[in-house]
């Protein structure tokens, strides 16, 4: 799993717009991050809750459907959240538009 995670970090870090990447395990504990520690923990906890809620919501609307990614566009950034089997990825980037 850690090789896969290294790959993910490497791939995303090369994009010019990326501000930071955080990999969080299913207990909302960050396992890898390119951002500062406090901000990372902050994101990890909040995103974990949001992801769980969003995921459940999709399921409740349609039992056969599932959430594949979540994108939050703010005035300053774009936060992309991708759930994987054993962890989830948070990418904070500057919007390209």
């Amino acid at each position: 799993m850690s090789a896969e995670i290294e790959d993910i970090i490497k791939r995303f870090q090369n994009y010019p717009n990326v501000v930071g990447i955080i990999i969080v395990d299913l207990f909302a504990i960050p396992i890898k991050t390119t951002m500062d520690y406090n901000l990372t923990v902050h994101y990890a906890t909040l995103v974990s809750n949001l992801l769980s809620k969003a995921s459940k919501m999709v399921h409740s609307l349609d039992m056969t459907n599932e959430l594949t990614s979540l994108r939050l566009r703010t005035s300053k950034h774009e936060v992309v959240i991708v759930p994987e089997e054993n962890f989830f990825i948070i990418v904070v980037q500057n919007p390209s538009e």
Binding site: V47, N65, L72, R73, T74, H77
Partner: protein, 116 residues
């Protein structure tokens, strides 16, 4: 209902892959929808707490920042939720058509920048 909102609503439905759109007021009640009443209420009811949570998350991690919109991608479709003041807009778009439109616009952007 003001014609501005009508116009905006009609424009939403013209977006690529648009399968449905719902306009929800400050009380969580769908005031304009292209879907049946039950589905609209279901979507409105479920999206309201989610967008509140997303908005409070953004304000928490970055004071001064605010949520513009939320996009949930699922296996079937994409749900876009945008909130302004009290109102909320929910748009459901089919993945295949949406991706196709994105590819086309990405290609034309590349074409334009190459020409420079």
């Amino acid at each position: 209902m003001s014609s501005d909102i009508e116009d905006m609503f009609e424009r939403l439905l013209k977006l690529p892959g648009a399968e449905g759109a719902i306009l929800v007021n400050g009380e969580g009640i769908p005031i304009r929808t292209s879907m049946d009443v039950m589905s609209s209420q279901k979507y409105a009811g479920k999206m309201t707490p989610l967008i509140k949570m997303a908005r409070s998350m953004i304000r928490d991690v970055e004071p001064g920042d605010d949520l513009s919109y939320l996009r949930l991608r699922t296996r079937r479709n994409e749900l876009m939720v945008a909130a302004e003041n009290d109102h909320m807009v929910i748009l459901i778009q089919n993945n295949a058509l949406l991706d196709q439109a994105r590819r086309t616009s990405a290609q034309s952007n590349r074409f334009v920048s190459k020409g420079k």
